[in-house]
Structures are given as C-alpha cells and as structure tokens.
Symmetry: C2
Subunit: 631 residues, 2 copies
C-alpha cells in the first residue's frame, strides 16, 4: 500500500530535494539542447512529480494511475523519472524532442507510469475519471493522480469532469494543480480569471492548499486524501522556474529554453556542471531505451453470442437492433466478469441503450449534456481494458467531440462509438442535428474504422464484431425503420450464411451496365432504383459499401468494365464515399461515366422523405438523374 | 427604453396570461400535427418568452438581442411571437417542422428577434457574449437576453462563457434559465447534478431566483438587472408542461407530442377548440410568411490598404506576415470606426496577434484556454457586423472547435479563422499539435473557404482579401520561415502584378511532362524537386493550390495532357487536396499516372525537416519516388 508511513523521513526529504536539484539541471539542459520545450512549468511541477512518482503504488495490474494533463511539462516528468531511476538520465537529456525518440514534446503513453498521452489542455481530468472508473468497476484499490496546470482550469471540459467524478463518487481520484499563476500570456488572473477553489467546491469536491515545493507537505496531503470518500483537489502554490531566481515568476520561461547567456548562469545557481557538449555529440546517435507497449490493455475476449435475425415483421429500426445486440452481449459477458460499459449523454431512450442500462446499471454511465467529457472518459476506460460503447446522435458523438476522439485515437483506445442519428434520417430536428459529415471526419482519424450497416441484421452482426475486435470503431445508424435487405430468393441478405468481415463490400445485386455504390438507409432505395431502371433495360449492379472508408479492391475490380458508376449517399458528397472510390478508379484507368449523388448544403427541417426530395436524392429523382447520365 | 415602467399593469398581466393560454394550445396543436417536437419545455419557457418578447427593446439597430440556447423549445418561441402579433398563428401551427418552412424544429435566424440559430445545447451563452460585446464595442445600449435550459448547464462551454462575460464586464447580458428540473432522461439532479447557483456565483455572476410562471415577477427581475453592472442569471423555477396537469413534471413530454387520447384532454383543460383538421388541410399547401434576411449584418467595407511585399532578407514567417497585415488593417480602419476584432486563446505571441493587441487593446479579446467559447463568441460578433479574426494553432482553431464552426457556418457568420500551425510545421510539439486534417475538416463546412498561402507575400494579400470579403474563411500558415516564392526572373511571384482571386490555382512553373500540385510550405520544396528532376530531363509543372478545397477548372484543363500528376502535402492524403482533383481528373478521362503524397499516420515529435524525412516527404525522398513513378 502506498502512503502508509506517517510522514516522509528527513532522509527521504533530502533525497528528493537532491533529486530535484539534479532534475532541474536536466530540464535546463534538455530544453537548451532541443532548442525548444517548456522549462518553467516543468520546474514548478517538479516537486509534485517527485513525490507522486516515488510514493504512489506504481507496480502491478492494480497500480495507481497517473495522468499529466499539462503534457508540455514533459521535461519535468522525464527528469523526475530519470532521477528516480525509471529512465536513463543521459538519453532523456540527449534525445528530448528528437524525431522518433520516446521523449516527445508532450508526454505519451509508454513512458513509465504515464497512462495517457496528452498535449491539448483540459482533457486530462476526464481521462483520469476513466481510469478511476476502471478501478472501481474491477473493485481494485488503485488511486488516480491527475496533475494539471492552472491555465487549463478555464477549460469547460474540466468542470464537466469534476461533476462526473462527484456524481460517481470517485473518491479514488486526486487532482494536483500546479498553481504557479503564470501561463503563456502572463498572469492567470489577467489572462482569464478562474476562481479555482470556489469552482471545485461548488462542484462538490474537497480542496486542500499546499506549498507545492514542500515535498513533506505534498506527501502529507496525498496521504490524507488517500482515505477520502470524496474527490479532492490539491491546489499547490508553486513558482514557475523554481530554483533559478532569474527564471522565477517569469512568463517568458513558460515555453522558451534558456539562451546562451542565461544557460550557464542557471547551471551555476544550481551547482551543476555544464556537460552539454557531451549530449550534443550523443544526440547525433540514437537511443537504446524503449517505451513499454502502449496498446489498449488486453481485453478478456468477449463471447459474441448467436446473432439475431430480423424480418420486416419485427418492425425494428437499426438503432434498436444495436440496443438489442448490446444487451445480449452484456447478458452473455458481464455476469462472467467480462466487462462492457456504455456511456450516454441524456439520450439513452433515443440511442437505445436503455435496456443495457436496466440490465447492467453498474456499467452504464449517464454523463448528461457533457459530450467532450463523455468521449474522453469512454476512451480512457476502454484503454484500461474494459470494452466501452459511447452512443449518441452523430453530431454529438463525433462533430462536437472530434478532437477528443483524435486524442483517443492517438492513445490507441478500444472505443466503440455508435452514432445513431446520421445522414438526413434524424427526424425533423433540422440542420443542426443532421450529421452529413461523419465519414469526412472519421477518415481523418488514422485508426478509426467506420461502419454503416444497411439493415437490422447487419447492425446486429457488426455490433458483435466491433465488441470483440480491438480498436476504435464508429457505427452509424439512422433514426427510422429501414427495410430488411433480401437476396434474390427473398431471404434476409445479412443473415444465415452472411458473416461480416471488415473492409468487404457487399454486392447485393449483380448488374452488367452500371453500378450504384451506397450504404446505410440508401441501400434499400438503391434496390428500388434498380427495379425501376430494369424497366428501361438497364442492368444496375448494387454495391453496399458498409465499411465507408475502405475500398474493397476485389469488389471494385468487378466494376471496371461497367459503363457508369454512381455513388449515392445522404452525406456531403465531397467528403463521403467518392474520394476513395474515385482515387481507385482513377488509378485503374476507369473510362466510364462517374457521378456522385449526395447532400449539397445544410438541410431543412422535415421528415426524411421530404428532405431527400428537396436534395433530389429520393428514388424518383435518382431514376431520372441516372437515366440522363446513362443516355 | 425598455423596462421603464415600474411594473406590469394588471391589464398587461392578464393580457400576457391570456396570450399564454392560447399559445399553449398552439404548442400542443403544432407538435401534434407535425408528429414531433418538444411541447414540455416550450410550455415551461413560455412565460419568459412572453415577457421578453413583449417588453424588450426589439426595434432598430441598437435593439436588444435574444438567443434561445435551448432551440428545441421552438414551439414556445413561435407561439409566443405569434400571439404577440409577430408571426401568423395559422402558419406557425400548420407548417411547424414541414421541410422548407421557416418554422424549423430548432429556432433559426430569420425568425423575428431570434439572433442565433441553435440546436446543439451549451453554445447559446457564448453567442450571447458575442452580441453583448458588439453592443459595447459600438457603445450601444442594447441588452442581451440568453434563454437556456437547466439540462445544458452541465455543458462546460457554459462555464467558459460565464468567465468571459465576467472578465469583460458584460453587465448587458442576462441569462434566464428554465429551471423545470426535467431533462430527457429524467430529473436533472439524477442525470447530472449541477449546483447552478453556486456555479454562477463562483464565476462572479449575480443570481436572482423567480417564479418562472409569474410574468409580473419576471418583469420585475428583468427591470432590476437591466441596471446592473454585473452579468446576472435569473433562475426561473418552472414546471415542464405547465398548464396541463397531466403533463406537468413529466419527462415523457420533453420530446413527444400528445397522443390521440391525451390531445383533446389537453385542449379541453386549456378551454381551446380542436380545429386541427383545418390545419391538417392547410399543411398540404404552402406558407406565405417569409423570414427576414439572415446574412451577417452589413459590414462597413474595410479599407484594405497597400499590400506589403517581402523578400527573404526580411526573414519573416507566414504567421508574422499575417500579424503585420492584421495590424495594418487595424491602423487603417479602427480609428475611422470600421471595427475589426481579434480573439486569442493564450497564444497571441505565437499566432502573432500581439501587435494588434498593443495597437487595438479594446478590440482584442483574450479568452484563455477556452477554445469552444472563443470560436462561438467570435462567430456571433462577426454576425453582428464586426469583422472578426480568431487566430489559434490549427488543432485548437479547428479540430477542437469543429462543431462550433459548423454552427457558425449554419449561422452564416463572417468569421476569419487563422490557423497558424498547420501541417507538420508546428515545431517539435508532437502529434497532438500536428494539424494534418484541417482540409478534411473544413471541406465538410459548406460555406467555409480554406486558403493556405505559400509565402509571406501571398499571406499578406490573402489576409487583406478575407478581411474585406463577407463569409467564413480559414487561413492556414506553418510555424517556420518559408522562402519567398520567386518567378523565373527571380522577382517575388506573389507581389507586383499578382492579385489574389479566390478559387484560382497559381501555375508557378510551366512543365511538359508531369505536374506537382501543392500548397503552403511544400511549394518551395516542389520548386527544388523540379530543379532536381530537370537534371533527369523531366519537365515538371508546379501548381500552387492555394485555395485547397477548390478545383480551378481552367488550370486543371492545362494538366490533362501530362504523363503524370502528383499531389504533395503535409496533410492526411486521404482528406487533403486529392479528392477534388481526383474527381475532376476521373470525370475528364485522365489517363496518366496519379500519385498522392502525404502524411500516413500520426507523426513523431521533432523538427519539420526530420518529420518530413520520416514521412518520405522531404525533397530527396520525393525526387526518388517521382523518378520511380515516371519510369
């Protein structure tokens, strides 16, 4: 157990003080050598790093977790870890901010005890909530320490995370704020005044104030809060550039290394020898220390159960099919301790996670209207080895939270985002709720896989697939009921023999003249378009691009001989499925006609059929347009 | 002046009460007819709407402004406006949520006195801050009323907006919270507890509590706060579904119209005749009422001054060229009362708005680490007729704030976003700071124009152009110094005769074998690549696609005869400039080789040249790759 002893002994205090003196020299050297970095905050946070890294329980699976939200203080983190024996001092100094080295400008997972890659301020406390939840769900004793800057307290996501921690009684989370009162543009009270103490108290937290440069006092506070039932904020009064008088309290040293004149002065003050030349030489070579593997923690492989098969008689919409599959996964796994969790932002009844909530209330997290916080917590929880679903309307699941998911993706999370209202099929809520850009957004996220199933049977199978497959996925569904897709014999296409395999396109109908490539709710319309064109003697191949960002080269090869290829989607056509398809066709010398049909501007407020007509994407308009194109 | 009289007379009170009774009937009818909508909150907010719409000063340019942040209460807004004579009652009921009608599911600009289109919760107070700022900058007396729900108080952006309003002494803003304690998933204290009063007090606001169904009390409170120096929150205790006993306090009526059985009962309770059949007939036809034009308010056209021309001797980076152009625009316009404002999120020294801040401190707004709030305030201010720049690192200017800009775009703002750190050229901060998706993001925003100038001269001209051109623009610049682009005579290419025209590609060098299409910091590298390939006897055409989302058909036509076309960018190649170029080439039957070069994964932390080498995007690697492709 950590923090068991009453207080730090005087020997421990002086050992930490000496480590701090040396670490400050390291910070000044590595930033000077790299020619960039953030020495000031690294020096004001350093004493907290030394106490937490030396005293917290950082071994084993039930270890404490650490999130450094102000990741730009990486020199302080590396130096503290190095002087405590967890990193090689020489390599930290020599290779800081060298491309490819593990010692990046902002801390990343893989560095010892760093559980979350950060860099964009204000998200760290949400990540900490995710780790604290993981510990509670697993009934572990691990405590979570979130180290933050004062400047980022202005960020709204921090207040969202505070409320979540309070609501879910995360007494196992402690925030340490480096309250040096300086941010890039000057004094925090001039840049954007934040009443930090009152903000934390108003949200139900405890607040303790300490001298952030008194390691014994920091230890005592951490020991006290370790027993608290309530989340606690330790406001640590610090001095930026602490230890080098001419740096102390100066905003200029937030993000700038020391110059030629200042550098030797600082080392002299600290009583540290200037051996930079040695490191300058070493930097020309390469490093030997390697980070630990930073994939999401191994997930106890889930039992995916037997897929459900639906017919139109079931009168189900795709989001409900997701909800039923999710509940089935919960029933089959949670009782056996294979955990699945689901996050909601006050839309459970619409995104169909209510049944999951009823059957697995302890794994269901209601975040209220706090999408940024929910997206980050869900990501962190998924990285801690718990399969996590975040279901929301498309514009909240992705548009509002794009950057949170970018950071999740960088953190190699194992998150399953379910965007239940995408395209124009979102009810009559209007343009602010129409998510007609989701493919254009997720395509930017290198490790996110986006899947838009065409009917309830495909949704069921895709939901089970993503639950059991490591990595980040986005599943898109519409709001209304779509027909069950049938094969030519009239049997459900996505049942019986069908098995979802990521990246494959489904050739739903063969055709010899032209092809229409589509997905989601437009597939059933494409089949009707095919029937109508058949009367003109046009044989239209219908392809379901269920994995909307992937080109299935085998399936595409089968299209190269056709007269025309059309893409058809209720999405912005400039960012939908045409880009990868067009690039493939261009590189394969396709000579036929190509046309992309999609939504050309922000939509109106009305029902789906009215909206499709307004965009000339309804069956009748499409038949006319395609006839004209095929003339 | 509004709220001059001591109190509402008893006649006025009873007139508003009667209007309320009728309006509740309208709300119940329109939601029933549309088959969707939000009756519950519309009825709990209604009395506030009636007082504000009837008493505020809503005429003329110096009018009060109103933001309805919980836009889903649109039935309440429409009914209140109609019963006060500002909208035709019949059309509001008949055409609510019919595609194309002005009476959308969420309120939009163009409806009388509705100054901001809303729908995604939590952004309204930021928009209100923008309008309050506009009034202060113009020394007008207009007051801003922001009506909000209680559920959205959990949203972090609300806390950001509170702090901004306090910092900038926006005593001319009043928040009215519909505190009915019910949101979609149930009681607000169960969904996500928020200590609303303490939150507003902690951020320095005044708080007044009133009975939200007592119009006299609401009037009295609004009259009092009108004189206050401090922003005030009026917490209005209300009842969801107020006026129809069986609806009162029930979460079920948040987002569901009444069914066949409930509907006549509700009308009976209200003593209102059921004439829905008439409206059902009318709905088959069309509406006559037309919304007022909702473009950004006419901007006093700016004087753009004389462009600056730079040479390499000036040693300037592109962000500094932007900063100098912005300061020049400020010098030439602000003293004459043609207002320009700039927003910062604690990065002024890096994004080069410090000079503007020094010369125009009253037009410079330091938001601290609050990007969501800054993006929305800047958008609203720009809509109020003040040319507004929001300069930030790319990942904050766009990735973090994508959805705020989507709402800005829907609101037809006149915002100039300057993303000073895009691509890999962001210093050694690492992957969280590398903005390699910005083209992929803005391409989704139908009315955003994205421009990435190649050197300081082009930046200067583009900055002046966007300042004087109505609409939303994003200008991208790197961090480091790029060479000034020269023509074949060695003169600055983007000076003298050059004039920026949106949508045009710049053919910087002619070529007869192949073409490389690029932009920004890669253009100078493309010119070096051209020199190197010339030695192999390859004549490479170099095209600058400065408007990265636009295909210049005339310029592209000149490429169709070439053997190969390459795109070259420090951006995700799947979402960069290839999609529109590829689509054009495909539709024009291009038969040559096509290759897109870009960044294939999240980057490392190092300097730009190291990173380009790691991605094989440096000049040497590109020459090799293109040689291979041209074999």
């Amino acid at each position: 157990m950590a923090f068991e002893q009453e207080a730090l002994t005087s020997e421990e205090v002086s050992r930490l003080k000496e480590a701090g003196r040396l670490a400050k020299g390291d910070i000044i050297k590595m930033t000077r050598l790299a020619g960039s970095g953030h020495p000031g905050g690294s020096m004001s946070s350093l004493d907290m790093y030394l106490v937490v890294f030396s005293q917290a329980n950082l071994g084993g699976a039930t270890r404490d977790r650490i999130v450094v939200s102000h990741g730009h203080t990486s020199p302080g983190v590396y130096a503290a870890l190095a002087r405590l024996g967890h990193l090689p001092v020489d390599e930290v100094i020599a290779f800081f901010r060298k491309a490819g080295s593990p010692f990046e400008g902002h801390v990343v997972r893989g560095i010892p005890f760093i559980d979350w890659s950060t860099g964009n301020l204000g998200q760290g406390l949400s990540a900490g909530c995710g780790f604290a939840l993981a510990a509670k769900l697993r009934k572990e004793h691990g405590h979570v320490y979130v180290l933050m800057s004062d400047g980022e307290q202005a960020k709204g996501q921090v207040s969202e995370a505070r409320r979540f921690a309070k609501k879910y009684c995360l007494g196992n989370i402690t925030v340490l704020i480096d309250y040096n009162r300086i941010q890039i543009s000057g004094c925090v009270d001039d840049v954007m005044p934040v009443n930090i103490v009152q903000n934390y108290l108003a949200d139900g937290w405890d607040v303790v104030e300490v001298d952030g440069h008194n390691v014994a006092e920091i230890y005592a506070a951490l020991r006290r809060v370790r027993q608290s039932e309530n989340p606690t904020c330790i406001l640590a009064h610090t001095v930026i550039g602490k230890g080098v008088p001419f740096m102390e309290g100066k905003a200029g040293y937030h993000g700038s290394p020391l110059n030629e004149k200042e550098y030797p002065q600082a080392l002299a003050v600290l009583g540290i020898e200037d051996d930079l030349q040695r490191y300058r030489e070493q930097r020309k070579g390469t490093w030997h220390w390697q980070p630990v593997k930073s994939e999401a923690e191994s997930v106890s492989s889930l039992v995916t159960g037997t897929p459900f098969t639906y017919s139109d008689a079931d009168g189900l919409d795709n989001r409900s099919a997701f909800g039923k599959a999710l509940k089935d996964l919960a029933d089959k796994n949670i009782p056996e301790g294979r955990l699945i969790s689901a996050f909601d932002c006050d839309l459970a009844s619409s995104v169909k996670t209510s049944d999951f909530c009823k059957c697995s209330p302890d794994q269901f997290f209601q975040c209220g209207v706090q999408e940024h916080n929910a997206a980050t917590i869900a990501g962190a929880l998924s990285v801690a080895g718990i399969v996590t679903f975040f279901a929301d309307f498309g514009v909240f699941a992705l548009d509002e939270t794009y950057n949170q998911h970018r950071l999740n993706d960088i953190n190699k999370t194992n998150l399953k985002v379910v965007a239940t209202h995408v395209g124009l099929d979102v009810g009559q809520d209007g343009k602010t709720h129409q998510c007609i850009d989701y493919i254009g957004l997720t395509r930017n996220l290198y490790h996110f896989k986006t899947i838009v199933p065409a009917d309830t049977n495909q949704v069921d199978r895709v939901t089970r697939y993503v639950a059991a497959t490591n990595g980040n996925f986005l599943i898109g569904t519409g709001r209304s009921k779509w027909p069950v897709i049938l094969d030519e014999k009239g049997m459900p296409f996505f049942a019986n023999g069908y098995r979802f395999s990521y990246g494959s396109m489904d050739v739903v109908r063969e055709g010899t003249d032209a092809a229409i490539i589509t997905y989601g709710g437009m597939l059933s319309r494409a089949l009707s378009i095919r029937e109508r064109l058949l009367k003109d003697g046009v044989s239209l191949k219908v392809v379901n691009m269920v994995c909307v960002t992937e080109v299935d080269e085998k399936a595409m090869a089968g299209l190269l001989g056709l007269k025309a290829i059309f893409t058809y989607e209720d999405h912005n056509p400039a960012t939908g499925i045409m880009p990868p398809i067009g690039y493939y066709l261009l590189r394969h010398g396709y000579q036929g006609k190509v046309e992309s049909f999609g939504v050309k501007d922000y939509g109106k407020s009305g029902d789906t059929e009215e909206l499709l007509q307004a965009e000339k994407l309804d069956i009748g308009s499409m038949v006319e347009a395609m006839r004209a194109a095929l003339k």
